[in-house]
């Protein structure tokens, strides 16, 4: 279960423990969890996450396998939700395991950078004023470019 795409909520501690329990020989385990934030200026009623079933699985598996190969990871996991979420809920999570801490950290950062801009998810914020599609950030493209240098 290296890639999970689901509508249901998840227990990040349980996902981390299940990931860590399967490992053998790892010295370092990193996890990242993304949480729906409230909007500064108005109440967020919901965050709707649309995705492209089929392509999502392919894209996440490819990103996960790239990270494993590039950072010599012992294992890596991506979990991403879709559907309607509210503020404070966990949207997604990645976990990486490696011999050394640098690879585990770099692997997790890499997974997140690619998930942000290369996995077919689209977020829409719902407030009392209506819905607004979240726009992609130039800084996320800049984060991706780091990995193609050097």
């Amino acid at each position: 279960m290296t890639v999970l795409i689901q509508e249901n909520s998840f227990d990040m501690g349980r996902v981390l423990n299940e990931f860590a329990d399967r490992l053998s020989g790892a010295g370092a385990v990193v996890s990242f969890s993304g949480i729906v934030r409230d909007i500064a200026t108005e109440d967020l009623r919901a965050m709707e996450i649309e995705h492209f079933p089929g392509m999502t699985e392919r894209a996440l598996l490819a990103i996960r396998d790239d990270a494993v190969a590039r950072f010599f990871l012992i294992d890596a996991l991506i979990l991403h939700r879709f559907g309607t979420l509210t503020a404070g809920e966990a949207i997604m999570m990645v976990a990486t395991a490696a011999l050394h801490r640098t690879d585990a950290f770099d692997g997790a950062v890499y997974l997140m950078d690619y998930l942000k801009s290369r996995a077919p998810f689209w977020k829409k914020e719902i407030t009392e004023r209506g819905g607004r599609w979240v726009e992609a950030q130039e800084r996320d493209e800049a984060a991706l470019r780091r990995w193609s240098q050097g």
Binding site: G34, E50, F52, G54, M55, R58, A59, H80, I91, M92, M112, L115, K116, S117, R118, A119, P120, F121, W122, K123, K124, W133, V134, E135, A136
Partner: protein, 82 residues
């Protein structure tokens, strides 16, 4: 016959998430040119190609990606996962 899919605000503007077209387009750009002729909504959606991403048979592509052998082309805005 080619399946065309739309996501996020493209889907909302066009009022459709999927349609099947008969086309002789050889690249994504050819297809976009054809779609623009389908009506005002299409012309608006495809006005700024820098704001649109495309996947051909579920692999990210570009305007010059060949589609002669493709089964499905998907159009959507820049992705906002994570």
């Amino acid at each position: 016959m080619l399946d065309i899919r739309y996501f996020a605000w493209l889907r909302e503007r066009l009022g459709t998430e999927r349609e099947t077209v008969q086309t002789t387009a050889e690249t994504v750009l050819d297809l976009v040119a054809e779609l623009r002729g389908r009506g005002d909504a299409y012309a608006v959606v495809f006005a700024d190609l820098a704001a649109i991403r495309v996947a051909v048979d579920q692999e990210l592509g570009g305007l010059d990606t060949p589609i002669s052998d493709a089964h499905e082309v998907a159009f959507f805005p820049p992705m906002t996962g994570g």
